[in-house]
C-alpha cells in the first residue's frame, strides 16, 4: 500500500523545482509539464521502494528527456515570426538571462542536462555523474564544452550559430 500523503508532501516540496528543471531540459513549458508528469507517475509507482525519491526523479527526468530527444527531432520547428536579431549593445540583466536560456536550448540534450544538474539543481560533479550514469570526467568535459560553446555563441552574438 502506497503512502499517498508522503507522496503528496514530496510533490508539494519538490514539484515546482522538478517542473522548472523539466522546462529547462525540454526548452518548452508544455513539454516540460508532460515530462515531469510522466516522471512523477514513475516515482509514484515505485514509491516505498526507492530510498531517495528526489534523486530518482532527477535521474528519470534527464533519462526520459535524453531518450525522447533520440526518438524525435525537436530541433527545427516552423515559426510564424522570425526571432529577434541580437544587438551588440550592452544588454539589460533580464535580456542576458533570456539570451542564456536561448543558448541553453541550443545545446545537445546531454549538455543541457549537465548544465541544469550542475547550475540549477546545484549537484556536485559526482552527483551529476551518478544521475546521468556517466563517469565524472564525462560530466567535467561535457560541462566545460557546453559553457565554452555558450560563451562563444554569446560573444559572436549569433544565437543560431554553431
Amino acid at each position: 500500500m502506497r503512502d499517498d500523503s508522503a507522496f503528496r508532501a514530496f510533490v508539494e516540496e519538490n514539484g515546482a523545482t522538478l517542473l522548472h528543471a523539466a522546462r529547462l531540459l525540454t526548452g518548452d513549458h508544455q513539454r516540460g509539464e508532460d515530462l515531469v508528469q510522466t516522471v512523477l507517475i514513475k516515482v509514484y509507482q515505485k514509491w516505498g521502494r526507492i530510498e531517495t525519491p528526489l534523486a530518482y526523479a532527477r535521474k528519470a527526468l534527464v533519462t526520459a528527456q535524453i531518450d525522447s530527444s533520440r526518438r524525435r527531432w525537436w530541433g527545427e520547428r516552423p515559426a510564424e515570426t522570425l526571432p529577434e536579431v541580437p544587438s551588440t549593445d550592452e544588454l539589460a540583466p533580464a535580456e542576458d538571462r533570456d539570451q542564456l536560456r536561448r543558448l541553453l536550448n541550443q545545446l545537445s540534450p546531454r549538455e543541457r542536462a549537465v548544465i541544469v544538474l550542475r547550475y540549477y539543481c546545484d549537484l556536485s560533479e559526482q552527483d551529476a555523474a551518478a544521475t546521468l550514469g556517466v563517469p565524472v570526467g564525462t560530466v567535467k568535459s561535457t560541462c566545460s564544452r557546453a559553457l565554452a560553446r555558450m560563451r562563444v555563441e554569446l560573444s559572436t552574438g549569433d544565437p543560431h550559430g554553431v
Binding site: 503528496r8 508528469q37 507517475i41 509507482q45 548544465i115
Partner: protein
Amino acid sequence: MAFDEDDLRAALRADEGAGLGVDAGTVIALAEARLQARHARVRMLAAAVVVLGAVGTGIGVLATHGRGDESATSAAGGKFAPEHAHSQAAPGADTAGGQSSVTGTAAAGGTSGGLAVPGPASSAHAGRCPARPVRVRQPAAGAAGAAAPLFTARVASIAVCGYASTTPNGAVTLTGSRVLSGTRARQLAAGLDAASARVHTDFCVLARTRVLVLYAVSTARHRLEPVRVELSGGCGVTATNGTAIRYDWSPPSDLAALTD
C-alpha cells in the same frame, strides 16, 4: 558579453515557480489508471495462456484417444461447453464465452488465426451470443478513464447481441444478434465514442430491460473489452466497457430492434 556561473544560475532560476505547478492528485489518478490498465493486460494474457493450454490439452487428448473415441471428445468438449461459458457472463469469464464462439465464428465468418473475426453482416450469428448479457462494472462518475475511448483499438468488426425482458423485473433473454464489419462497424464505434461522457442525472421510470452487448475485434485481430449498452426505457442510454462510459447515445434503429 561574458557570463560567469552566478549569471548562469540566475538565468536558470528566472521564472522559477511560474505556471500552475504539479497536482499530486492528478499524478496519483493517472498512475492508478496506468496500473489498472497494466493489471488488465496481465489478466488478459493469463486468460489467453489458460485458454491456449486448455486447447492444447484438448488436442492432446484427441490425439491420444483418436477421433472416434467418445470419452475423449466429451472431455475436450466439456471445457468449452456453451452452458459453462454462458453461466459466467462476467467480463473475466467472457474469455471462456468468447472462445466457445471462436469456433463458430471461424466456421461462419472465415479464418482468424485463433481470434474471432466475424464475417459479413448477417443475422445467423445468434450462436455467438451468450444466453445472458455480460455484466460490466459501471465506472463511477468522473472516474479516471471514464472519458477514454470505449474501443481501445481500430475496430474491424462488431458482433452485437441484443437482450430484453418482457417486464421491468423479468428475466433477460437473448432476443437477436447481428455482426457488423468494415465501415459500418467503425461508424458504430466512432458514434459511441463520440457520445457524451458527462453523467446523465435525470430521474426516470425504469421500463423493461433492453441491453445491447458489443463484442468488437480490432483490425489487429484482438478481442476488445465488451461494451454493454443499456437502452432501458426513459432512463437514457448508458454504454460502458468497465473503464470508459458514455451517455445519451442513440442506437441505429436496426440495432435497437434487436431488443424487441
